[in-house]
Symmetry: C2
Subunit: 601 residues, 2 copies
């Protein structure tokens, strides 16, 4: 492990460089240094893996909190801190305050407190007022505010350098995603799938915020930046207007496919990877067709935004199985052949392994045996084989289709998995939840909910005699074989991002508030600590002054915790999640706190 | 140390007893068992001392957080938990939620969430929406809500057993104090000194909430429960209508003397001890006279409420030096003679030692050398010798009297001190703050502020070159001699209650958020931990399953933290405190969290 003093010099040098034409070398260097946690996913590949091994299976039982920081905000805290050199940057949910914290004494170097219109923004945030974190590059901290303002702050002072408006909350457009900084660009998406928002990805120049390109998920080729001849779907060119041909009439204008999840990047291929969300209304009956390119993995050229390949996981979604979950880039062997793979755990319950260069589908297997809406994925067509009795379209409008697994929030939602190149395993926080789903007719009004289904969720696992539930599992996944290696049952969904380390320790948080450390090979629990509130944040690690730290945000909320976060009592408002998680308040209460752990001196 | 299993039996037995005519034996037994923390002050004497010694000077450096609990409320968290057997009870600021937490797994056994009118109550809470804790007795948890409702809850289920209204927020009456349970009564006071509220203490029957007696601080003898012949002041009967004779005309109707501090009790003498607050408006010019019995220590018979003795510390207050701070009952030698003493650290900067049986004044010395408004206390008359240039009355209305020490929030405010019978020392969290004070004419309107002075506060200590302040000290005090034994300078006021233990470790919290452990004999710092937010709560200790725990609420706020808690930027709204503490937000943010510490297994 590098000594801290070296990092200080390196970072100071980087920060003092004159403006660069590309942020890549600086940021790549910072990311390569495991003392930092310079990007939300730990690296461009989104592995959430750290080379640090001071904390390992032999000593993690001695871990202890060493300092804590309350954010001053109560609702759901997703994401986690960035650490660059001797400074830690942490964000909050709405109102999206940002703090730069001095790792030496935990004092606050600066605070950025944006002014946002709560009355305009909060009512159009479907699933709590979360924010998934910050971006860093070119001496700037990038904040994607809920009200869609993308802001560049001076990393040293917190002063605003530029600000651009990425959308319009009056149309239901908001933001929850962390921005991705690559080269001279900062990439961001858009939220609002429950408000008829048409999804897009936009790239802004990190120097001045000028927009470089914008690519919609649905629409004509000029909007989607899809080349009919060059862009492929499972190896074949998609053809002209591949999106709008799969919609009835002009329904694609309300085509959804929002882009509120995580972004990855491959520097060698110069491709950005992300997924798109649900197609407009949740009522499938009124929008026949495949509804392309909702529910789709995109691989786009960083410089131009042009799509190299696409893969639609859930054509004609009938269950709200957004495709926005993280894309983890890992070089693994599949079928005896080494691959530049992309591994993705979709809301729909299938774990996908693709060739990230070509978009070839290599593996698609259920990562929770409870998944029942489809029997399997046809490896030639890439289409899930839908089970009739769980088709809410076949069930029809105003009919309650029962016992569909997973529920709308998926076998996994935004909580990102981790990958260890040492064990070659993926560590996946999952939900174990099913639902009843009833589509209904809904009319589009800008800025109003455009959901079109009522649903209720309940545990896939049995409720035990003492009323305790089994709503989630933390699993180790072999993405080459498409198999679960081990699985740890949890009382609630595991809504926290995982962390894998070279110490062969894997970390995750639970909705009750436990930070847990388990053996990467066996899943054996080695440590747990009850943080102040339920954890929906991601576990990160860094090193300062020669010591390895592990940090996690607690602060119950998010979709699973929406009942508590927003004070809801009915499933309708909480999009079905309130009922399943109603016992959460027996274990935890609201409150945003960063807890930082280390070994004793 | 008693093994946990024995306590379980004892508590279970106590809880299952049929209704008793007096709660004393049960509560006394619970308090005598150091495994519990059964009353806010640790015992009736308010020593905040624990016989537990598992954590001691030799091992406290190994202390570590073992679990944490976010309360879900952001503003200032004063007070601390009660622990009875295997259950921990914790309260929050407004809206005064109460949680019963199972010490086995930290799950929430029950939650009580009172419905209070925020619009009516919060605007008439001068100095943050704090609450100082719960009372226990007769199988009930007593909560004194901000809106003055005193509530008895079933300790096992949280179900409301009875509720009585102790005052009226429309008149500016609110509550912040912890209720005191003695025998068959629960004692409570009233807040609202800045709203013209006339202070009183009331005793309610713990069975049904029926009021047993009510004693005002000012007014005719029948209201004050003062016997002209039997009630004494420094050994002499006070005479008829001793209060109203010291007010001009009927000004006593707005006489103040609120009773929002801490209460102590001596079972042998059957006396309840507490102090009264400021006399009506802060403008002394308009209310000539001694304004008795504001700023007074009261010793009252528990059964009848009759005053046995009184001692007015600050006659005709000109500085808002409320006399409500805790009364610590300790048997110590003074002048070579063993005394049943009462020790009190007043806002006015003098540390008083009295004979608690007779009210005889034994010692009165400054416990901060910065105190300048009076040279000394005349031991015959008990009167402080006021320095003319710091008399805001002599200064006159609309004149700014400068550089008075201490400031209105006193050399100590509500933050309770601790006493160790082992070291015979008192451990006192103090403020080191001065002020400028300008009285002005104000008209009384029920429910409106009736302050009558503007003031600004600033550090008594020098502001150093790097802008860091010295706004407080944590001191060890010899109450027999009236001398500081050691003093630890702190960047901010020490607004946390102290804890002394048989392990010769003394604990306190800081406004930056550090829990600190120091050597009881030398003051040497042995341990510190940065909790999520600034600490204005009190450190408590208990034992569960054979292990000693230390717990403290963090959550910045209170008068010192009112700027952050209420989002104030001007001194006027913050009663002068905003300016002095304006750099607090460089160290901490809002958020209520209980952090529980123990030694490693």
């Amino acid at each position: 492990m590098m000594r801290r003093s070296m990092t200080v010099v390196a970072v100071a040098a980087a920060l003092s460089l004159p403006a660069m034409t590309t942020a890549n070398p600086e940021l790549m260097k910072l990311m390569d240094d495991p003392n930092n946690w310079a990007i939300f996913g730990g690296d461009y590949a989104g592995t959430r893996y750290s080379e640090l091994d001071q904390i390992n299976t032999g000593n993690v039982a001695d871990l202890q909190p060493v300092w804590t920081f309350s954010t001053g905000v109560l609702r759901g805290h997703e994401g986690g801190p960035l650490v660059i050199g001797d400074t830690l940057y942490i964000h909050t949910p709405f109102p999206n305050n940002v703090f730069a914290i001095d790792l030496k004494d935990q004092s606050i170097i600066w605070r950025y407190a944006p002014q946002q219109d709560a009355d305009e923004t909060i009512p159009v945030m479907c699933c709590d007022t979360v924010n998934r974190g910050l971006g860093y590059g070119d001496g700037k901290i990038f904040l994607q505010q809920a009200d869609t303002n993308l802001v560049a702050l001076d990393a040293k002072t917190g002063k605003e350098i530029w600000k651009v408006k990425n959308g319009d909350p009056k149309k239901g457009e908001t933001n929850t995603n962390a921005p991705l900084v690559v080269k001279d660009k900062v990439i961001t998406g858009i939220s609002g799938g429950e408000y008829g928002v048409k999804g897009f990805v936009a790239a802004y120049n990190i120097k001045d915020g000028k927009r470089a390109w914008k690519a919609f998920s649905v629409g004509p080729d000029k909007d989607t930046l899809i080349d009919p001849k060059k862009t492929t779907h499972l190896g074949k060119p998609v053809g002209a207007d591949s999106s709008i041909k799969t919609w009835e009439g002009d329904q694609w204008h309300l085509g959804g496919g929002t882009t509120w999840g995580w972004y990855s990047y491959d520097p060698d291929l110069n491709l950005v990877y992300y997924g798109s969300g649900n197609p407009g209304t949740w009522n499938p009956v009124v929008r026949p067709g495949d509804n392309r390119w909702s529910m789709t993995i995109f691989a786009r050229d960083l410089d131009t935004g042009m799509a190299k390949w696409v893969y639609q996981m859930t054509p004609h979604d009938e269950w709200d199985y957004d495709g926005v979950n993280e894309m983890i880039l890992a070089d693994i062997a599949v079928g005896g052949k080494q691959r530049k793979a992309l591994v993705h755990f979709d809301r729909n319950g299938f774990g996908y392994t693709l060739d990230r260069e070509t978009g070839e589908l290599l593996v698609a297997q259920k990562y929770d045996p409870a998944v029942n809406w489809a029997t399997k994925v046809d490896m030639k067509t890439g289409r899930p084989q839908v089970v009739d009795k769980f088709s809410t379209h076949k069930g029809g409008q105003d009919t309650n289709t029962k016992n569909i697994c997973p529920a709308a929030l998926g076998t996994k939602d935004q909580q990102p998995a981790a990958f260890s190149p040492k064990t070659k395993l993926f560590y996946v926080p999952t939900n174990h939840v099913c639902m009843d789903y009833e589509p209904f007719e809904v009319e589009y009004v800008a800025g109003q909910p455009y959901v079109g289904a009522t649903l209720s969720m309940f545990p896939a696992g049995k409720v035990t005699g003492d009323g305790s539930t089994h709503l989630g599992n933390f699993i180790a996944w072999d993405a080459s074989a498409g198999k679960i290696v081990w699985s740890l049952p949890e009382r609630f969904s595991v809504w926290s991002g995982a962390l894998a380390t070279a110490g062969d320790v894997v970390f995750y948080g639970t909705l009750e508030g436990y930070l847990k450390a388990v053996d990467a090979k066996t899943g054996k629990e080695l440590y747990r600590f009850k943080t102040p509130s339920g954890i929906i944040g991601n576990v990160n690690t860094w090193s300062y002054d020669g010591k390895q730290y592990v940090g996690v945000l607690s602060g119950i909320g998010g979709w699973a915790g929406i009942g508590m976060a927003a004070g809801l009592t009915g499933d309708t408002e909480g999009l079905g999640a309130v009922g399943a998680y109603k016992s959460l308040d027996k274990y935890t209460q609201l409150g945003g706190v960063l807890t930082v752990f280390a070994l004793p001196d």
